[in-house]
């Protein structure tokens, strides 16, 4: 049963990402990317990581991709004509091959063994909100605080940038 679900999500994820790259219409690209995000969320769900799965949907599928869609819809980007990416194409092939090699090597090194088990798999409470929350506010408190400050700076920066055109009115 689990295998079929895994195959389903994996095939949908891979097929949508391939289709996304081949697709010329930017709106379709965004939608296919959302498909990828949601199938990855499905994979997280199968790893008992409910929280990460839902956050994946809320943050990526629900918020970031909406902004992508917004920009594309408002700018009314039409179909990308072939030939714009003349240098990038061969470069992409080389880089993808370079990236693929270590990945393949890693998978191969694990293939025969069978000694590797999922980290802390069946442990009770694994991946639950309580556990993640406790870790975030104890062990990883400093990174969380730094990320929070960074996000705050980004928000203030966005507000400042959008106010550029308006004249400051007193009072």
């Amino acid at each position: 049963m689990e295998l079929y679900f895994f195959l389903f999500f994996a095939i949908v994820a891979v097929a949508s990402s391939v289709a996304m790259i081949l697709q010329r219409n930017p709106i379709y690209c965004v939608l296919l990317l959302i498909m990828v995000m949601i199938s990855i969320a499905g994979l997280y769900l199968m790893l008992d990581a409910e929280f990460v799965a839902i956050i994946q949907i809320v943050v990526y599928a629900g918020a970031i991709m909406v902004l992508f869609l917004f920009v594309i819809m408002l700018l009314n980007l039409s179909r990308e004509e072939g030939g714009t990416f003349r240098i990038q194409k061969p470069l992409a092939v080389v880089l993808a091959a370079l990236l693929f090699l270590p990945l393949a090597a890693m998978v191969m090194s694990y293939a025969g063994g069978g000694t590797t088990t999922p980290v802390d798999g069946g442990e009770a409470g694994f991946g639950e909100v309580e556990q993640i929350g406790t870790l975030l506010f104890t062990k990883y408190l400093l990174p969380v605080e730094i990320a929070a400050v960074l996000l705050l700076i980004a928000i203030v920066g966005a507000v400042v940038l959008t106010r550029k055109g308006t004249v400051a009115v007193d009072g």
């Binding site: 839902i54 909406v66 869609l69 909100v129």
Partner: protein
Amino acid sequence: MVLDPMILDGAIALVKIGILLGVVFTTVAYLTFMERRVSALIQDRIGPNRVGPMGLLQPLADGIKFMWKEEFIPASADRKLFAIAPALILVPALLIFAVIPVGGEVTIPSFTLFGLQIQETTTTLQIIDLNVGILYVLGMTSVAVYGIALGGWSANNKFTLLGGIRSSAQMISYELSLGLSIVGILMLTGSLQMSQIVDAQDGFLDWFIFRQPLAFLIFVIAAFAENNRLPFDLVECEQELVGGFHTEYSSMRFSMFMIAEYASMIAASALMATLFFGGWHMPFEDQVGPGLVTLYQVAGFLLKTGFFLFVYIWVRWSLPRFRYDQLMAIGWKVLLPLALLNVVITGIWMLV
């Protein structure tokens, strides 16, 4: 032969999903009828009363009418997206119901069906009790934006595009207040699980409406905006945008938008009942006989949900529409700070 418990669990889940979908779709149909009758009541008219006794068959007649209407797709539309947009809006709305608890535990006695012996089982009246229940709801509401945005864009019409963009901006803005208003409840419950949130309100005075009144107010306003209902229905503001994002839709696709709107209204009402009005917990439930207590609780839950559905309609026909800049100002400058304030107050209250 004894049925495998795993298959039994699956069968029970399927039956629950079937019943739930049936109830939701029937409620949607009669909600359209109720909306017309209540609006007539408020405006001192009679309303539809011709089809069947008291007009009760009106939704059926409407459905048949929708099916026989011409399915029109504009020539310049993006046909694929135009076709799937209504589904993209309906599916998230229906998925929300998966985590809403309708009642407590029930025991199904063992019985024999076609020679299969089915063992006694207990099940909760909820399809799945996710550990991250509330986040799941927020995730589904955030995915629902796509249907409206794409429906508006794919028709290739400036009015629908404006409607779609307005609604996406509105839904993204109010999602924040919606999520933050629930944080107070989560702090008091210490869990994101729907069943635990309901269990935290088992006494009448434990209902979160008494402990989190400000959160309830914010939640209701944000939910109205999320569902694009008056006074926040700028998405389909007739005077400015013809019919908003669904101007170009007709026939069953149009009715799917309507079904989605009403289904998300029901989901939002059920959430208000679950989060703030004790869910299926009712006052005096220990005085009801043991055989009837589940029935009493489920009836109570449905009654609460029904009340909020009535409030939705009541507000729609009583309040005028906001202007778009007012809508954004309320969302960002009033509701969001208030929701944050609520979180702070709850935190202080918990510490003292």
